[in-house]
């Protein structure tokens, strides 16, 4: 198998792009793709300070690496979720990467905000699902960290498989309000909401993993112990079975959606300041503060539904 660009020994067959590539040409291909995504959807402008949310996994570390390679000023944010050995190992990987690139890594600990409780204990005590609790807390802390430290934009490592699986779930449930917001660019609609971007949205999970491996990035391979049996993985499996039979199906599904996405846009919800923390929310108390109140035994009646 020969590289379509240089004729050297190819290591990757990208059926969705009908191309075989060697290591070096694949790295160029991947960088071009990310740069194109950033330009096409106006995700990041030159000179902006980017905060990359890193988990220690392949996607977020590959994203941080490629943004640095493309010349962006990017620091990392690691949120320690307090999930035993998994968090300890993923934190080590994130720290190691930051050190190897000589970049700042900001660390936020969930336990510091919840009286020493990690995600599993918080979910258990409040009878919520681990994944939804984790997602909500991460979103809050990511936004807060970016704003308080003066970053212009928050970048996450969501890849094409993440986006296509999420889209499939949203379409199956016809969740219009989610479809309205699913995009590589989530603009800031309030002074206290940072712009969020997904520069890897057009790169498949296989491409992102290949990039991380070729670049020698030491990432955590083990899955979060709570992700086993997750619906998102089931949707990814379904889409990849489709991809196997019909190369390019995932990309077509997602790009087709993005073209029609404005049709789903609804009126932006009216935001107000959370009366406890001051961050934007649709009801008097935001979900994050509501959770803190609930754990402290002070749950209010005017909070948002989970």
């Amino acid at each position: 198998m020969k590289c379509k660009i240089c004729g050297g020994k190819a290591v990757l067959k990208l059926r969705s792009h009908n191309i075989n590539l060697c290591e070096d040409c694949f790295l160029d291909f991947f960088k071009r793709r990310v740069r194109k995504t950033i330009g096409r959807y106006k995700l990041i402008s030159k000179g902006e300070r980017v905060l990359v949310a890193v988990s220690g996994g392949k996607d977020s570390l590959a994203l941080w690496d490629v943004l640095l390679e493309l010349g962006f000023e990017a620091s990392g944010l690691y949120i320690d979720l307090g999930i035993g050995g998994y968090s300890a190992l993923s934190r080590e990987k994130a720290l190691k990467f930051a050190e190897s690139r000589g970049r700042e890594l900001i660390i936020e600990e969930v336990k510091a905000h919840f009286d020493g409780l990690g995600i599993p204990e918080i979910a258990k005590r409040t009878s919520r699902s681990v994944c939804s609790t984790c997602g909500m807390i991460k979103r809050y802390l990511m936004n807060k960290a970016a704003l308080e430290r003066g970053f212009d934009v928050l970048a996450t490592g969501h890849n094409l498989d993440d986006e296509a699986a999420s889209l499939l779930g949203n379409v199956l449930g016809w969740r219009i309000e989610y479809l309205a917001r699913q995009h590589p660019l989530l603009p800031s609609t309030d002074g206290k909401l940072v712009r969020k971007v997904k520069p890897l949205a057009l790169c498949s999970e296989k491409e992102t993993a290949s990039y991380a491996i070729i670049r020698g990035i030491d990432y955590i391979v083990d899955e979060c112990p709570f992700a086993e049996g997750a619906t998102s993985i089931f949707y990814k499996n379904l889409l990849n079975r489709l991809e196997l039979e019909s190369p390019g199906a995932k990309l077509q599904f997602y790009l087709g959606f993005l073209k029609t996405q404005p049709l789903f846009r609804t009126r932006e919800p009216q935001l107000r300041e959370c009366r406890i923390c001051g961050y934007p929310t649709t009801l008097p108390v935001c979900n994050f503060c509501r959770l803190r109140e609930q754990l402290a035994g002070r749950a209010g009646s005017d909070a948002e539904e989970p």
């Binding site: 198998m1 067959k13 994944c131 899955e223 979060c224 998102s232 993985i233 990814k236 499996n237 196997l244």
Partner: protein
């Protein structure tokens, strides 16, 4: 001599040399969701692995 394949904490042993792509078929794995590595490097699907090769199948799909 048997080829050793490490995948998700398990070790599979296969007799004889074979193409990397054939390993996916034999183990019923989707090549869109897995990569084959030898000594930490990507292995092309058409590469013939020797009967004493030690390889890792690295899943690329994660949840969340």
């Amino acid at each position: 001599m048997k080829m050793e394949i490490r995948y998700k904490g398990k070790v599979y042993k296969l007799e004889g040399k074979r193409r990397a792509a054939d390993i996916f078929k034999e183990l019923d794995l989707n090549p869109e969701e897995n990569l084959i590595l030898k000594e930490g490097k990507l292995v092309a699907p058409d590469e013939v692995l020797s009967e004493d090769a030690i390889v890792e199948i690295r899943p690329v799909i994660s949840g969340g």
